[in-house]
């Protein structure tokens, strides 16, 4: 039989109401309060322990509370961790999210909680943990706890998870392809969606437009003193591509010296070329400076228009490259640039 542990706040853990909200965490053997319902609905698993913590205690002493609770769990064997349901209670939602995330990171077991859509914990933690869509108050306990149990049973049995909508949890910002069970071809789906749109009937887009990440414009630098680095997603590399950066869907980047070079030599000279598979390479192979403008920047350097050019340039390939990978590579490159005292970057694509 598999084992689960449940987290409850002071109220559902039967310690007390608002006056006990500063209650420091404890762990109890077996089930307490609402845990009984969960325990009864788990199919091949039991709740062996219940962790109880006051909402305010978690809110104002998060670090300590998490450490204490993770300490309780260190010598316990468990296959799944539940918290809540937290309904619309903001502090309880936060506490459930915090502890689920911490338990998942430390013990690598599935974690499940449940909240109402207006609980601020949803937006804070939906990317990190499964948060089932729950009701607004404890009156929904008889609906929400069985949902947690059912989903927990699925996770424990390693059953296929069919997506956020089908399973009733908040989307985690993860989009994966699936084969439709009814095998409706895209052409029919498109025409059906179009007819609904024409007729003013509700329809569901298969790709909801996500909120955009906007990056604020960086503060200005004094060009005449600035150390400027060249960074490119245009795939300009030494001809032997020493880091084997992929020609598309890149996960690698390279750092190459341009110290003492007035301009980048080309492919025919055995110097630099592009490995980018997303554009016609002819012009860049003939003159890599059209993508990584070292020649123009050296001229500015000589004129005193800019302070200096950083001795290394950075390159990757920006075709088919997933945005998440691009972000990771940028953060890695930025660390080098900061350490080398670079003031500004000219980022070129292709």
């Amino acid at each position: 039989m598999k084992k689960g542990i449940l987290y409850l706040n002071q109220f559902f853990g039967q310690i007390g109401g608002e006056d006990k909200a500063d209650f420091a965490p404890v762990i109890k053997e077996g089930v307490v309060g609402a845990g009984l319902l969960l325990n009864n609905l788990l199919e091949d698993a039991e709740i062996t322990h219940t962790v109880i913590c006051g909402d305010n205690y978690m809110g104002s002493n998060e670090k300590e509370a998490v450490e204490e609770i993770l300490g309780f769990l260190e010598d316990k064997e468990f296959d799944i961790f539940f918290a809540g349901p937290a309904f619309q209670a903001g502090r309880y939602g936060n506490a459930s999210g915090v502890i689920c995330k911490a338990v998942k990171e430390k013990f690598n077991v599935p974690v499940v909680t449940s909240m109402h859509e207006e609980n601020p914990g949803v937006d804070m933690f939906k990317k990190d943990v499964y948060i089932l869509i729950g009701g607004d108050s404890a009156a929904k306990m008889r609906k929400d706890m069985p949902k947690m149990a059912n989903f927990g049973n699925k996770l424990l049995k390693n059953e296929e998870i069919k997506g956020a909508e089908a399973e009733g949890y908040y989307p985690r910002g993860i989009r994966l392809e699936v084969f439709l069970e009814d095998e409706t071809p895209a052409s029919e789906r498109a025409v059906n969606m179009l007819l609904k749109k024409i007729n003013g009937e509700p329809f569901v887009s298969e790709l909801p437009i996500p909120k955009l990440d906007r990056v604020p414009i960086a503060p200005a630098v004094n060009l005449a003193d600035a150390k400027i680095a060249l960074v490119t997603s245009g795939g300009i590399v030494p001809v032997d591509n020493p880091d084997k950066i992929q020609s598309s869907s890149a996960t690698r980047w390279g750092r190459y010296s341009i110290e003492g070079l007035d301009r980048l030599g080309n492919k025919a000279e055995g110097a630099f070329k592009t490995i980018h598979a997303g554009y016609d390479p002819a012009a860049a192979d003939a003159d890599p400076n059209v993508v990584l403008p070292l020649d123009a920047l050296r001229a500015y350097e000589k004129e005193g228009k800019i302070g200096s050019i950083h001795n290394y340039y950075y390159a990757t390939v920006g075709t088919g490259t997933a945005e998440g990978e691009a972000k990771r590579m940028a953060l890695e490159i930025i660390e080098h640039l900061r350490n080398d005292g670079v003031d500004a970057v000219i980022l070129t694509s292709n």
Binding site: R175, L176, P185, A190, L194, K197, G320, E323
Partner: protein, 441 residues
């Protein structure tokens, strides 16, 4: 324009003394068929290999797929490729269904080439796994591009079209087993009960990103990079006017076969006269510079508006840079009051957390998603490889790699592979065959 496609359902393909067709069996005289292939001196080696659904076979690098057809009403089956330019889409054409001619590199692959498994787990990723494939496996003397990632693959792609026309000619004097009729009259001459229905255009954005000629989709033999958006009759698309590109990540690609069988055109035909008035196709493109994108979007908006379209379906062949064209065009159609549905695939990364399209706009509120190009696919070795397995990792195929810190090389010593969906041959079928979607997890 009235087009009648006479169908012959191919259940079995074999080699024999005489090229013939009888009761579902297509017999090919290999020597005669290869003589058609060798009409181009640039073909240095060629063989025809058969692969049917269920075979323990992996095919890679696949460059193109063509449905064998023959145009009975005069002119070439593929204008601008197998002959001079003559209008298609009217009259009669015969088709060998349930099969395709695949252009396969004997050794060398390129960025836009793909992979097909004929059985097992890998077979679900491409519609071509379910067809009787007549594989033209060839090498050429095109030395200038031998080691280029981007190849025009001219000789072998053109040979595949010649071979498809030759095979189609086998049934040119026979009575078709079934017929499909596509009849769509002039827009201003339609019956009132049809013209009062909501008017719909289908906006197609075929691949045209490479500036140099020879890589992009052709429209009557004309490089779509050199084209401004134009109005076409859907029958022209179904009848060989459009030729698949060499360039584009393969799962996003529209092969000639896909154009010939375009499911969205067929679905719109099905609704024509019942729920909609299908006006026709606006053939746009996907050029790379911003000015070209804006100009193309402007033309699409103007043509759709001038035609009086109430609604549109728009489909893009590609992702990344081309998402800008797709979204801009979507926005411009909505701006003109034309209710629009988009069809595309996504690039959300192998973990699904990346932004799905490179460009986004709130006006794009109705999208059908056909797959995630970055899905990681791990497949066991297959008994036989048609082509050359190493090409997947060696030749810059969009979904293969030589080495990866975590995943290792795409092709392992035991013949098993790990790849991105990107290189599944025409796997995302954005023209409408895809039974995939992308969901939130």
């Amino acid at each position: 324009m009235n087009l009648e496609i006479g169908n012959f359902q191919v259940k079995n393909v074999q080699f024999g003394q005489t090229s013939s067709y009888s009761e579902g069996t297509l017999t090919i005289n290999k020597e005669e068929a290869l003589s058609v292939v060798f009409q181009d001196d640039h073909i240095t080696e060629a063989d025809i290999v058969l692969a049917k659904p269920g075979d323990d076979v992996r095919i890679v690098p696949v460059k193109e797929a063509v449905e064998p057809r023959f145009r009975l009403s005069g002119g070439p089956t593929f204008p601008g490729v197998t002959g001079k330019i003559e209008r298609v889409g009217e009259g009669k054409t015969v088709a060998l269904k349930n099969c395709s001619v695949l252009a396969v590199g004997k050794h060398w692959g390129s960025f836009g080439d793909g992979l097909i498994d004929m059985s097992g787990e890998g077979a679900k990723y491409s519609i071509f796994s379910k067809l009787n494939n007549i594989c033209l496996v060839a090498d050429t003397d095109e030395e200038f591009e031998r080691h280029e990632i981007q190849k025009k693959n001219h000789a072998i792609r053109w040979a595949a079209h010649r071979l498809a026309e030759y095979l189609g000619s086998i049934v040119k004097d026979m009575t078709p087993e079934s017929k499909e009729v596509y009849d769509l009259g002039p827009i201003t001459k339609r019956e009132e009960k049809i013209s009062k229905l909501p008017s719909v255009v289908y906006v197609m954005q075929p691949q045209s990103q490479i500036e140099e000629s020879g890589f992009n989709v052709l429209n009557y033999g004309w490089d779509t990079n050199r084209m401004l958006p134009t109005f076409m009759h859907p029958n022209e698309v179904l009848d060989g006017a459009m030729i698949g590109a060499s360039y584009m990540c393969c799962s996003s690609k529209w092969s000639t076969y896909d154009f010939q069988n375009c499911p969205t055109i067929k679905s719109l035909y099905k609704e024509h006269g019942k729920t909609i008035n299908f006006l026709g196709v606006i053939m746009s493109n996907l050029n790379v510079s911003l000015e070209q994108k804006e100009r193309a979007g402007m033309f699409v908006q103007q043509i759709a508006t001038s035609l009086g379209a109430d609604a549109a379906i728009i489909a893009e062949e590609g992702y990344g840079n081309t998402d800008a064209d797709f979204i801009e065009c979507f926005r411009l159609l909505e701006e003109a009051g034309i209710k629009t549905v988009g069809m595309t695939n996504e690039c959300t990364g192998s973990d699904g957390t990346s932004q799905p399209l490179a460009a986004l706009d709130v006006s794009a509120d109705a999208i059908v998603s056909c797959g995630n190009v970055s899905t990681l696919i791990e497949l066991p070795a297959m008994g036989t490889v048609i082509g050359e397995l190493e090409s997947l990792m060696r030749d810059g195929l969009s979904g293969g790699w030589e080495d990866d810190d975590v995943l290792g090389p795409s092709v392992r010593e035991d013949g098993s592979i790990i790849m991105a969906n990107d290189s599944m041959f025409c796997g995302d079928s954005v023209l409408g065959q895809s039974i995939k979607t992308v969901k939130e997890f």
